[in-house]
Amino acid sequence: MSGESNRLAEIIESSTTSFTAQCYELYDLPPLGSLVKTKDVSVEIYGIVSNASTTSLEPGRRPIARGKDAATEEDIYKSSPQLTKLLRSEFSALVVGHRGGDKLYHFLPPGPARIHAFVYACTPEEVKEFGRSLDFLNILVSTRLPVSVEELVAATLRQMAQAQEDPHVFLVAAGKELAVLLPDFNQLKAILGRLK
């Protein structure tokens, strides 16, 4: 399974359906739609990155523009090294499954993840294993998020397809699953259009 090198972030907010984690490194965010996991006492909880943001550490203090005299963006950070400590990157993930013992379940775990639990990026093997069942799509299409369902589903499938032996076959199978799940053809069309 994943080693410490895959450790990305730490949970700072958690519920049964989702969790939010702060990255250890500024801007070290997992891509939208990628599969991450966190460990609870007895289960591993899998989530799909559904939103991400980089904000000021203190909600009341907004960053100000600093680069008027800098040649490059990098120069701004170099000249003000404190910036990386005053900003933070965090992402939220939608819980789509869990692993209890040897078995992988594509539905919600019994309880939410704990605060300060570590969040890891999943290895391609794990992504491939998770992608064997497309039942998680049902959770994705039925949630309300800041990111539109079409974008999230398409991003997830693009991410997951990369880990498959035959990405095309995987995408067609997922497309067929979506065609059944989504009664509205326009929504399906929007997703399929983003898969290419």
Partner: protein, 536 residues
């Protein structure tokens, strides 16, 4: 069984026994690969069902898809939509259950439908063989199902137990089909055939649509076929080796024979009535005497005695004169054709009676009716004797008639010998093989008694209705029948087949096909010979 060999088509979604089963096709299966008339098996939970595709249709889950069609030029989108949002569906008529555990139970008529989401497969060669049986000593290879190489076989001893019909528009292959069937009968049915061969195409040789000569029964099986002819000259010109020239005496014609000719000779009911009176008055020579009545005095006397109206008599005299002009009718025939035919039939020979030039319907009806009536009488006597004395029954006889609607139309069917045979002669070991292009002209009572019907393409609504009358799943079969190709395809249903089937008839006319036909007979002949040698 070989599960891999079967191609999965889809799953059962709805249906009823009465109206058939709807099958949703899998995405990978193209509707364009489907065809009406093809066989499928449905794997129910407890039993396997065997059915036939009767309709193919397209469906969408969202009406938007029909109003604003997606961009299917993108293969990815097309692939995703196929089988999900857009799908093909089949309508399947279930006919048989073929046993829950593979080969165990034989085919049984279907009494229920498979449960929801049962898997539907294309029927494999084994399935079709399981249902229709393999070629053996009783089963005769008649053709193959569409798009399959499996041989479809008819159980001929079973077939000849009932009267049968071959129908189809002109030029759809009725004659070829009949030849194939006759060859089968003479090989495997243990019945003998008497064929009234109106166009002289079953005995020695016939022509195909392209004008090519094809061999017929006598050339292929010289030892099993006797060719009788009404027209010796025509037979000689065609270099046919005939066995007997049929001559019929005037005295053989009975008033009953005239009933059938009423229409073709344009006689009134009163004229038919008059024939009975004349027969009574002049006894056996009634025809010749009536034709020869010229003297006015004499005629008046006869008419007064018999109370026949003069105009009726004149019309009858004209009609009888038409018959009298037929060259094969003679005052004193050298031999009795009925006796000769029966002798040959008793020896196991199949008799083909060629009509040569006398292809007009009057001659055909007269001769067929006259001979059949006598043969019928003989068979009935023998059968009754056999039943009474417990001796051997006469060999089953199949009488083949063409233009059957002339003999079996509703006006005459109840009175003619052919109507009687179709209805009840099965008991006396005589059945009919009727060949016709206008089945709607045949009495419905007779049609309903036909055991097995083989029909090539028909496109007249009334003909189709009359052929399919009383068959379950009629509307489905109708769509199958109307879509037959105009050549070499036929729909078979009824007594001799477990379920309706569309076949591509086996080849007939090439050297290879002759060899195959002869080969089948040869093998059997050799086996019989071996047995004889072995047991003395």
């Amino acid at each position: 069984m070989n599960e891999q060999a079967r191609q999965r088509l889809g799953i059962v979604v709805t249906g009823s026994l009465e109206e058939g089963i709807d099958v949703k096709l899998d995405g990978v299966v193209s509707v364009e690969d489907m065809a009406v008339g093809r066989y499928v098996t449905i794997e129910g939970q407890k039993q396997r069902f065997f059915g036939m595709i009767t309709d193919v249709s397209l469906g969408v889950t969202d009406p938007h898809l029909t109003l604003t069609p997606p961009d299917v030029s993108d293969p990815f989108i097309a692939e995703v939509l196929a089988g999900t949002s857009t799908y093909g569906s089949l309508h399947v008529a279930p006919y048989l259950t073929i046993g829950g555990s593979g080969l165990a139970g034989g085919p049984m008529p279907v009494k229920t439908v498979p449960s929801h989401y049962s898997v539907v497969n294309q029927a494999s060669q084994e399935d079709v063989e399981l249902v229709f049986g393999k070629e053996d000593k009783d089963r005769y290879y008649i053709g193959t199902p569409l798009d399959m190489e499996t041989k479809i076989c008819l159980n001929l001893p079973e077939l000849v137990k009932r009267s049968n019909g071959i129908f189809g528009k002109s030029g759809t292959g009725k004659t070829f089909l009949t030849r194939i069937l006759l060859i089968g009968m003479l090989q495997k049915s243990a019945a003998v055939n008497l064929i009234f061969d109106m166009h002289s195409e079953y005995g020695w040789a016939g022509t195909s649509e392209g004008g090519r000569m094809v061999k017929s029964l006598k050339q292929l099986f010289p030892s099993k076929v006797a060719v009788f002819t009404l027209d010796e000259e025509s037979s000689k010109r065609r270099k046919v080796s005939t066995d007997f020239v049929v001559r019929i005496g005037y005295d053989e014609i009975e008033p009953e024979d005239m009933v059938l000719l009423r229409e073709t000779l344009n006689l009134t009911d009163l004229a038919i009535e008059a024939t009975y009176q004349l027969r009574r008055r002049f006894s056996k020579d009634w025809i010749q005497t009536t034709i020869n009545l010229k003297d006015a005095e004499e005629i008046k006397k006869v008419l007064d005695d018999t109370r026949i109206h003069e105009s009726t008599f004149q019309s009858l005299q004209r009609g009888l004169a038409t018959i009298g002009r037929l060259p094969f009718l003679v005052p004193h025939p050298p031999d009795n054709p009925v006796k000769r035919i029966l002798e040959d039939l008793d020896r196991g020979l199949n008799v083909v009676l060629e009509f040569g030039r006398y292809t007009d319907i009057t001659a055909y009806i007269l001769v067929a009716n006259l001979l059949t009536r006598r043969i019928y009488a003989q068979y009935r006597d023998r059968m009754e004797k056999a039943m009474g004395e417990d001796t051997a029954k006469p060999t089953p006889l199949v009488i083949t008639i063409e233009e059957a609607h002339k003999f079996l139309n509703p006006e005459v069917a109840s009175q003619t010998i052919f109507g009687t045979i179709a209805r009840e002669m099965r008991k006396y070991n005589v059945t009919l093989l009727v060949i016709d292009q206008r089945p709607s002209g045949i009495d419905s009572e007779v049609m309903s008694q036909l055991g097995t019907k083989i029909t090539c393409l028909l496109d007249n609504e009334r003909d189709i209705d009359s052929v399919l009358a009383g068959v379950s799943g009629k509307s489905e079969l109708k769509s199958v029948l109307a879509r037959l190709e105009s050549r070499q395809q036929a729909l078979i249903f009824g007594h001799a087949v477990p379920m309706p089937i569309v076949i591509r008839t086996r080849e007939y006319g090439s050297a290879k096909s002759y060899k195959e036909f002869a080969g089948e007979a040869g093998v059997k002949g050799k086996a019989e010979k071996d047995i004889e040698e072995l047991w003395g």
